[in-house]
Symmetry: C2
Subunit: 339 residues, 2 copies
């Protein structure tokens, strides 16, 4: 974008390779600065429906989801998140007069900041009657971080055949695929109260908070492992593994266990595997592309942070495609057009 | 906020004095990083109404308003804005299929970035049916900047009796007071088409884009002038001059000309001066508190950037209050409670 040139006036420059990546990176000399703003999406609507059914507030986990949207994108470029700002735009100031709900949002936000070791810098809580629907809230987070030392930058130039693909477990649907899930709930006779497992209904399963992956990427740095590239698996499901612009073949030999709620959605939406893996995270919330020699240790570091992980496959020279061998699925270059 | 302590883990620290200021500041060693997220508010509703009446799109100026909300707050702490991220949450993806409107938003956004010499890093354009009202858009901007050199930090520790108050001209209502203006439009027989001056109707007068003040603060730095403190005059009108927590008297001896649209609002809303100056910017969009010896030169630097300015008064030892002598108005400490 032409505006990147303005940084020269200040003695700085953009990292052009970060255009099209999940966070924007500027070279300010001693280190890089990464920044981002991300939206939760429609997951809050599920929390609102479930609140009507159970009387509970789910905004503590909704808060974590919102921060995860920003943090999990910011870390893909190698950044350590430092500051999160809250953007909570309500349909009216009365949104915040539901004390239980407002306190849950604040408590969940603070807890997610604690997990990621970021400072909650402040934010904005406008009341936007006429723009945001009555009784609703539009949640977003902005995040600023540093890539420090600069060698931690991972915008993909180091990615090469032979690299291993490590997949980090998701906790459920995270915050992508909710439109589909909400449509499904409308069709189910018991709606959100339909059991997914004997002790868990559909609504609560959907509301499992998104995993925050920055403790893993920080622990990797401390262990001396610098990923060659990262992909946050959100919209477009596993097609996000094809995010990098280079021409490589991504061969998956092992898939993680599919979270029950995702299996439930796949079944009830009658999706075949190809459709499910191209829409949902199917048990993998984040992909790390690392040197093969680092793969097993990457898994161990993730587990040390309480996040399940597997060495799922490797990168090979060849056409740009993703091959999920255990499921007999292939996605070609045309499957993902983000740029 | 307790989360600020997390920065120590990364070898950094927050600038505690920035808590409660308009932007949050972190000390990262060679310089400070400032960050912020800001919402436009309800001004887009005026653009939507005016579009129905005239067929024109006003989203180019709405874009500038949104960026101004973030930039004009960020620069109060002495920061040079570097990166802006766009947050455009629409009521549905069809919002963007109005090509004229979408292009105006993009063009205005880029133009504001050009004026402020910031890089447009990217952003998020979610379609949030069910959360954002149908046909509407919730606009916000996040901004990251550097305070470099660190001596530029202006969180108020240098503010002292004897300092001059320089006021920078506003272009109109900016983006605060729009609820009042919208109510007024409903009551006027000709609504937004009521003339404010012979050639300007109320709607178009309201939609004059907010002045971007960062060219002034950057030019001041180049001229060797470091403000002791700054206040962005937004909500709460001139009471924002009392923003600093210290106990000083702010004596105003000269007020700027009141923009016609603000005079119009004051008259039609039957506000006395005290009410008007406590709600609207009344011709002053930004306040710079500078060393008395720098005051006249500050005015000249502002004018060199195309922004009208006046030396409006000075700070004195005494009770915390704002005295607007030409209007015989006083605001005490109780007038502004932001912290």
């Amino acid at each position: 974008m032409a505006t990147g040139g303005h940084l020269a006036k200040h003695g700085f420059s953009e990292v052009a390779a970060s255009r099209g990546e999940s966070a924007y990176v500027v070279d300010v000399g001693p280190f890089y600065i990464a920044s981002i703003v991300e939206c939760l999406g429609s997951k809050a609507l599920v929390a609102d429906e479930m609140n009507k059914l159970t009387g509970k507030s789910y905004y503590d986990s909704i808060a974590q989801d919102t921060i995860a949207m920003a943090i999990n994108d910011l870390i893909t470029v190698g950044a350590t998140p430092l500051v999160v700002q809250a953007y909570w735009a309500a349909g009216g100031s009365d949104w915040f007069s539901d004390g239980q709900r407002a306190q849950a949002l604040v408590a969940g936000w603070k807890r997610a900041c604690d997990i990621c070791k970021v400072s909650w810098g402040g934010g904005e809580t406008p009341a936007l009657a006429g723009i945001v629907a009555d009784g609703r809230i539009d949640l977003a987070a902005s995040c600023t971080g540093l890539i420090n030392p600069k060698q931690r930058l991972s915008v993909g130039d180091k990615l090469a055949p032979g690299d291993s693909i490590v997949l980090l477990a998701s906790s459920g649907i995270h915050a992508n695929g909710l439109s589909l899930a909400r449509k499904l709930a409308e069709r189910l006779p018991q709606g959100y109260l339909t059991p997914v497992t004997p002790n868990l209904n559909f609504g609560e399963a959907l509301l499992a908070p998104t995993v925050l992956y920055s403790p893993v990427t920080e622990a990797l740095y401390e262990a001396g492992i610098t990923p060659h590239y990262c992909a946050n698996i959100t919209g477009h499901g596993w097609r996000k593994l094809l995010r990098h612009p280079a021409t490589h073949t991504y061969r998956i030999h092992t898939v993680p266990e599919v979270t029950p709620v995702l299996k439930f959605i796949q079944e009830h939406a009658r999706q075949d595997d190809k459709e499910a893996y191209s829409t949902l995270n199917m048990g993998a919330g984040f992909a790390l592309f690392v040197k093969a020699a680092d793969a097993q240790r990457t898994v161990e570091v993730a587990k040390s942070q309480g996040v399940e992980a597997i060495v799922a496959g490797q990168i090979e020279a060849g056409q740009k495609k993703l091959i999920i061998e255990p499921l007999n699925i292939e996605f070609g270059d045309e499957a993902l057009q983000l740029r």
